[in-house]
């Protein structure tokens, strides 16, 4: 097997809050292989966006601190890299697209200028060459009339167009790793599908590895090779997409999969199919986490042992952190 492009080794990130210091990520270990798509899935507040920001060396500080572990990009620990080195990695080797295309572009500059800025920063090209590249990039991401659109301001473009612009900016320097933090959450369903198609095309063309962060198991099923499921700052289940989708072991993962609406199901089928499931409760506040399993309060299988002892991530067919892994009826 090839060396991983990026490895997180026992990564800990803590935040200063008014409840004192809370642990947002407690010992995350992950590998991203060159050219693959890794999904990180979980509800809001589980730490998946912080994981993404940590991979860019962009954990907001203050109040955030990387307090332990390593982030290895091609073997180099970027938690120890100097700011100058990090800036050379960002945008050139590791690029990122965000959840909100509406607010992720600067409203006072044209989209062409914003893409050209990244090109001029990392490549030794003239302004005119950069502008030509911008038009080519906009064409690559499927924006019609790219030369005209390069001169548009963000507010003149639709949400889908803006996300395409963000993707164009992200791939402008041919990065090896593209981190996509909920790239389609703010978009219409039809536009979501288009953006996923575009990301797949780009992966095929550029060979870029993608980390797709999402709460949508449907997106996982469609896009990813491997999946890590996160809950309350930890990875609770990890495996290939097939393993996770076909044979989820953690009750939380089963719950997430139960949340996917099945297309074509009609009201009359209610008798034959289980209803669209929901996971009761919410992710507990990080400062209130105890010693036991963080999911115990919401879990139908939980017992006193679960509430007292946190299950480690163990190999049970694939890695999972649950005392009752695989037990009970799949949702």
């Amino acid at each position: 097997m090839a060396d991983p492009l990026m490895s997180l080794r026992d990564l800990r990130v803590e935040f200063d809050t008014r409840h004192g210091r809370v642990t947002a990520l407690s010992g995350i270990s992950l590998d991203v292989m060159p050219g693959e798509t890794l999904g990180i899935v979980g509800e809001s507040g589980c730490g998946k966006s912080i994981t993404a920001l940590a991979m860019m060396g962009l954990v907001p500080n203050p109040p955030g601190h990387v307090t332990g572990g390593q982030i290895l990009f091609q073997g180099e620990d970027i938690t120890r890299a100097k700011p100058r080195r990090l800036r050379r990695l960002r945008g050139r080797e590791i690029a990122m697209i965000f959840q909100e295309p509406m607010t992720s572009l600067n409203p006072v500059f044209t989209v062409g200028d914003q893409i050209a800025e990244a090109i001029l920063l990392h490549q030794d090209v003239s302004r005119a060459q950069a502008e030509k590249q911008v038009v080519d990039l906009l064409a690559t991401v499927g924006i019609p009339e790219p030369a005209r659109r390069a001169k548009a301001y963000p507010h003149e473009l639709s949400g889908g167009m803006r996300q395409r612009v963000m993707i164009a900016m992200a791939i402008s320097c041919r990065p090896k790793l593209l981190i996509a933090d909920e790239p389609t959450t703010a978009l219409d369903v039809t536009v979501q599908a288009q953006i996923f198609d575009l990301m797949r095309d780009i992966q095929r063309e550029f060979g870029v590895a993608i980390v797709l962060i999402t709460h949508d198991m449907g997106a996982i099923a469609e896009m990813t090779d491997r999946v890590a499921v996160m809950y309350a700052g930890r990875i609770i289940e990890q495996g290939t997409s097939d393993q996770i989708l076909d044979n989820p072991l953690h009750p939380y993962t089963r719950g997430l999969i139960g949340c996917i609406p099945v297309l074509g199901r009609e009201a009359g089928d209610a008798a034959s199919l289980p209803p669209l499931a929901e996971i009761p409760g919410i992710v507990p506040p990080l400062h209130l986490l105890g010693d036991g399993c963080a999911f115990a309060e919401r879990c139908a299988l939980a017992d006193d042992y679960c509430r007292a002892v946190r299950p480690p991530l163990e190999e049970k067919g694939h890695p999972v952190a649950c005392h009752h892994a695989g037990q009970g009826v799949p949702a």
Binding site: R90, G91, E100, S104, N106, P107, H122, M169
Partner: protein, 326 residues
């Protein structure tokens, strides 16, 4: 909307506003107690009833108020602001001499206030809980709370008396007759203290506003995007964040222009600066209605133009306003 059409429309609104200002001030001044004929007579060293009637007839003070107003408005349409009761010279001539020192003072103060205020605010925003941020907060509060004449006197004591760097008063040295660059330098030297005195009040506001505005903008998604691109903190702060953070400052700068002119009145008095503010102040004491009205009319004109320029610069700075059809 085209920029030319926009300007035309704004100028038309401005004209209506200025007429409103004139009418309102005219009524206010004539409602105030005190008879200009008495003052004029007093200046002449006393007058008989007959002479008083003559004075009233000469300046149209014997006419009913609406007629006086109508005469005044139709004169303004011909750029005639009347004759000063006190100087016995055309008000336009008086203002013509006095308006440029005021504009120079006000613009310099505004520039100092915005430039220094924004720099202080930006530096403070980088460490919102740091010592510099605390200094900016305290300085802003003191600067804003201190009366402008007190600030002026303190600056004079500090920088003209204890450390004699700058002249105490006037716009040029008493017997200065130079021209060209020498004249400009002499004026600039005299301008420093009054301009800073006037700037300090507004500086405080701009510093607070830009600190708050920058803290907000630095948390924006597009700032994160800029960092994710690999930009350094300098480019992130000054190119991506500041360009957005100055938008509210521009708005306030436009609104503050009127206050700046009224602040200039006090500063001109403290520093004996030969501007419109002192002319207005003296005119109030002398019941010199035509001069006072003329000054107010011109001041409102300056404010209208300043606001228009502010809005135009706002359109330049924010593309969403330029294209967002209203």
């Amino acid at each position: 909307m085209g920029t030319a059409r926009y300007i035309t429309r704004r100028l038309a609104y401005g004209l209506i506003l200025m007429i409103g200002v004139v009418v309102l001030n005219f009524i206010l001044i004539h409602a105030a107690p005190g008879d200009p004929a008495d003052v004029i007579a007093g200046e002449m060293g006393g007058a008989t009833e007959e002479m008083m009637a003559q004075i009233r007839a000469r300046y149209g003070l014997d006419q009913p108020l609406p007629v006086q107003l109508w005469i005044y408005l139709s004169n303004i349409a011909r750029f005639d602001l009347g004759m000063s009761y006190y100087f016995d010279r055309p008000v336009t001539e008086l203002i013509g001499q006095r308006i440029w020192p005021t504009v120079l003072l006000v613009l310099t103060a505004q520039l100092i206030a915005i430039a220094l205020g924004v720099v202080m605010g930006v530096l403070a925003s980088r460490r919102p809980n740091g010592p510099f941020s605390g200094f900016v907060s305290v300085f802003s509060t003191v600067g804003y709370a201190a009366p402008v004449f007190w600030t002026g006197l303190m600056l004079i004591i500090l920088f003209s008396v204890i450390v004699p760097l700058f002249p105490v008063e006037g716009m040029t040295s008493a017997r200065f007759r130079g021209t060209g660059l020498a004249y400009a330098l002499n004026v600039a030297h005299h301008l420093v203290l009054p301009a800073f005195t006037l700037a300090i009040i507004f500086l405080a506001q701009y510093a607070r506003l830009s600190r708050a505005s920058m803290i907000e903008v630095l948390g924006a998604d597009y700032v994160r995007t800029a960092r994710a691109k690999g930009l350094g903190e300098g480019a992130v702060t000054f190119r991506h964040a500041l360009r957005n953070a100055v938008l509210p400052i521009l708005t306030v700068a436009g609104i503050q222009f009127g206050n700046l002119i009224s602040g200039a009145l006090l500063v001109e008095t403290v520093f004996n600066w030969p501007g419109m503010g002192r002319l207005a102040f003296d005119s109030v004491l002398r019941r010199d209605y035509p001069t006072l009205l003329g000054v107010l009319f011109c001041a409102s004109g300056v404010v209208v133009i300043a606001n228009l320029l502010t809005d135009l610069s706002y359109r330049l700075a924010d593309p969403r306003i330029r294209t967002g059809g209203r």
